[in-house]
């Protein structure tokens, strides 16, 4: 937040970049599940994005996609974008299941390749690098 030159155009560029990163994250997750029997994925535009800077600079709200994972047609996990402008991170997404929830932060610099980092509800201060193996463990309830 601090080193940005804030204009309406800059905010719009950040939002476009955020949407692209979310799309790529969802594509990755979908690809990870392709060969896993019984699992399916669906996305839906169901979350309104309207953050403080959008309000301040007159940028209209938009809808963001969430991703849902089903096993044998039963919903077992959902991925939801929470916010783009987070102190110390380049966006936050949450992963929710029936037993646990996780915070996924992109720790990259603005407009750089994402560095998705997972934070659990535990005492560890350092997050874990998010990837396929970790996601499968979460799906199976092993994390």
């Amino acid at each position: 937040m601090s080193d940005e030159v804030i204009t309406k155009e800059h905010i719009q560029k950040r939002i476009i970049d955020w949407v692209r990163r979310l799309d790529n994250l969802y594509s990755d997750i979908s690809a990870w599940l392709v060969n896993m029997s019984g699992y399916s994925v669906k996305t839906a535009e169901s979350i309104k994005m309207y953050e403080e800077l959008m309000d301040k600079y007159g940028v209209k709200p938009i809808k963001l996609k969430t991703l849902t994972v089903l096993k044998d047609k039963k919903i077992i996990l959902t991925v939801k974008p929470i916010g783009l402008w987070v102190v110390g991170a380049n966006g936050r997404v949450d992963i929710l299941t029936s037993k646990e929830s996780y915070i996924l932060l992109d720790m990259s610099e603005k407009f750089y390749i994402p560095v998705w980092t997972l934070f659990k509800h535990d005492k560890k201060r350092k997050g874990l690098t998010f990837g396929k193996e970790m996601f499968i463990e979460i799906l199976k309830g092993d994390m």
Binding site: S2, E52, G83, R92, S98, E100, S101
Partner: protein, 152 residues
């Protein structure tokens, strides 16, 4: 103390998140949004509480530093600026940002990060309909790390 607050936060957030998920899985959209809003408010509440504790440390350490300098510097050339500053940690004659500037280099990323948290705190306190996102895990980590750096 930050760790204890984080443990409490985790317990509450986990509970709220599970309710949100269950509502989502059952297709109860309004209920799902309600739980999501409760999670957001929970994030804000714990963030404000933790920032207040962090602010106390800034006040405490900056006051210690001022007192230390006022009592140790004997040459007027060096002490004159410090003598103008209030000793009392609750004094409003010096802003939080200026207290912070006594403890951290204003050009440093730590100073800027605390500044960003301070602005976030003000946004949350002022309310409004726009989303204000915090990430408690990284906030806790930052408050702990920076508290160690600024300790006098």
């Amino acid at each position: 103390m930050f760790v204890d607050l984080k443990t409490l936060y985790d317990e509450v957030d986990r509970f709220l998140a599970i309710q949100e998920f269950n509502a989502h899985a059952a297709g109860r959209i309004t209920e799902e949004k309600d739980w999501a809003r409760k999670r957001e408010l929970n994030d804000h509440a714990y963030f404000l509480f933790m920032f207040t504790k962090f602010e106390e440390k800034i006040r405490e350490y900056s006051s210690k530093l001022i007192l230390k300098k006022q009592s140790s510097l004997t040459s007027w050339n060096h002490s004159r600026v410090w003598d103008l500053l209030p000793k009392d940690k609750d004094s409003t004659k010096i802003t939080l940002k200026n207290r912070l500037a006594l403890l951290l280099d204003k050009g440093s990323s730590d100073y800027q990060k605390v500044n960003d948290y301070y602005e976030q705190r003000n946004c949350i306190a002022h309310g409004g309909s726009a989303t204000k996102t915090v990430a408690i895990p990284t906030a806790v980590s930052d408050f702990i790390a920076i508290s160690k750096k600024i300790k006098v």
